[in-house]
Amino acid sequence: MAEKVMVKGNEAMGEAAVRAGCRLYFGYPITPQSELTEYMSRRLPEVEGTFLQSESEVAAVNMIYGAASTGTRVMTSTSSPGFSLMQEGISYIAGAELPSVFINVVRGGPGLGDIQPAQSDYFQGTKGGGHGDYHLIVLAPSSVQEAVDLVQLAFDLADKYRNPVLVLADGMLGQMMEPVEFPEFRDLNTLPDHSSWAMQGCEGREPHKITSFDIDPINLEKMNLGYQKKYREIEANEVRYETEMIEDAEYLLVGYGTMARILGTVVKMARNEGIKVGLFRPITLWPFPYKELESAAEGKKALLTVEMSMGQMVEDVRLAINGKMHVDFYGRTGGVVPTPEEVLRELKKIVERSE
């Protein structure tokens, strides 16, 4: 089996994409993910792939639209302001049902914000972001190894459902170096065959048309109902999450990505002090593990959601809990990462209140 190597998160995600059979990258530099763009510019020519630095994120996302229309594996990566610029194109891609992978290495916002890690693009990623009734599949890694695994999964899910998939990372994960075991290179001949719908030239068949457009509302509604059917299927099959020490827990922490890692430390610290706490970590942010969280929370005294934002995922947590218990929230924003100590303090306040 492959041995472990030390890699920076951003570069690891790039290598993971290459190993997943991605040979096309379009993107525009932005901190804290530029290493990923740079990595692809070095790496893709080595594997006879194509790297193109676009003139903007607006152009990048439309290049993705074009490449994905041909059924070719393709990706881009960016950080928050760039992801905002991509929203129109992503809406078109979702409507045209084109498989493609996006990585957003989130930084502090709004506006130009800063370049420190944040989780304040959760709404944008999971609730649409662009116009229209659509969803991205959203995957949230909490370690560099998991980022590698989820980038691979992202391509497979994108192909399987003909849907854009977003890997929602943050600046911490992008900049962090960790030991990683890379998967084997995907044999390009085993990549899914999209010739039944893709634009590859109409020689010997009827022309293929790719669009998110229909001027007739009845037809457009039909198209929309088609997307919704697919979304229900994704919700039924693709929910992913992880738990830590929840069986005997009296309290539950909920967090994703980098924050969940810090919460893992909080669980250990709290348990050392005799507080029985567990962790619930959504891996798919869309589809969100509503039912799974609901049952994990059953019988717990209290639940604390922690985010590197002023509270975005907590809205989904509250939907999952559906008023059955009080959901507390703690968050820091603007690129400030909560420390385990300060989260533990918050947890203790809740414990005091609940005893």
């Binding site: 096309l24 379009f26 194509t50 193109l52 676009s54 003139e55 903007s56 607006v58 152009a59 990048a60 439309n62 290049m63 993705i64 639209y65 074009g66 490449a67 994905a68 229309s69 041909t70 070719t72 393709v74 129109e88 194109g89 078109y92 045209a96 634009m199 590859q200 030239g201 109409c202 020689e203 010997g204 022309p207 293929h208 048309k209 790719i210 669009t211 457009f213």
Partner: protein, 251 residues
């Protein structure tokens, strides 16, 4: 006695009825593009990118693989396609709002990269689809629904000369401005379109044909009046001619 067909629909046009107004030049240009595709024998390997504008349905009018891009982004979409499928022939079809306003960055950079794609650019000095608003190409003094007092330099600036701007870019291998207001011009326009596609097929770089085009509906003129207006006004502002030709004589 069996009748002999002497004029028929190009194979690369679909059976879909055009959605264009009477006297609109979009339809003429569609036919020319389709004839060129037929003559070059590239129907089976052509990928087309339609814009947002009156020609938004163009991806259904051509019997080739087609899609419609977001407003102004067709050159980026075409870039993605061509990079994914370098052996295919990729073309965009765009209006002047699409290409010269919202899509300025995409066309400039695709041209400058020498992207091996072809763009058919319809300059009708107005936004047709949305009901006759000012375009960047609108002539000075011209009244539109958003320049109701006539376009003025102090307020709206000058009409933009897309071909004159693009000709300075090294990636451009073929660039011509044509009109389709007379049979002779139609023949010339077709040659230009053919050369533009040949440029791409030969891998020489970016190619674009700008077509001065009528919009009788939003100009408020009859089809004949519209042609006269184009001849008298648009050709002065936008002189016809070849700006870049790295292809040479067609065999």
């Amino acid at each position: 006695m069996a009748a002999k067909a002497i004029f028929k629909k190009p194979q690369s046009l679909s059976d879909k009825e055009f959605t264009y107004c009477p006297g609109c030049h979009h339809g003429i240009v569609h036919r020319l593009v389709a004839e060129v595709i037929d003559e070059l024998g590239i129907q089976g390997k052509t990928l087309m990118v339609a814009p947002v504008g009156c020609s938004v349905f163009a991806y259904t009018f051509f019997d080739v693989d087609g899609t419609v891009a977001a407003h102004g982004r067709a050159p980026a979409v075409a870039t993605g396609m061509k990079r994914a499928m370098p052996d295919k022939v990729v073309f965009t079809y765009q209006g002047d709002g699409d290409l010269a306003a919202i899509g300025t960055a995409e066309i400039i950079h695709a041209a400058n990269r020498g992207e091996k794609i072809t763009t058919i650019f319809i300059n009708n000095a107005i936004y047709g689809m949305t009901g006759g608003q000012m375009a960047p190409t609108t002539l000075l003094g011209m009244k539109t629904t958003t320049s109701p007092y006539g376009r003025e330099v102090d307020r709206e600036g000058y009409p933009i000369h897309v071909s004159e701007v693009l000709k300075e870019l090294s990636g451009v291998a073929y660039l011509e401005r044509v009109a389709v207001s007379s049979p002779a011009e139609v023949r010339k326009a077709k040659q230009a379109i053919k050369k533009a596609f040949m440029t791409q097929i030969k891998g020489l770089g970016f190619s674009l044909v700008e077509v001065l085009s009528t919009c009788p509906t939003n100009w408020g003129l009859s089809p004949i009046e519209a042609i006269n207006w184009l001849n008298e006004n648009m050709k002065k502002e936008y002189p016809l001619g070849v700006f870049v030709d790295k292809v040479g004589e067609l065999k």
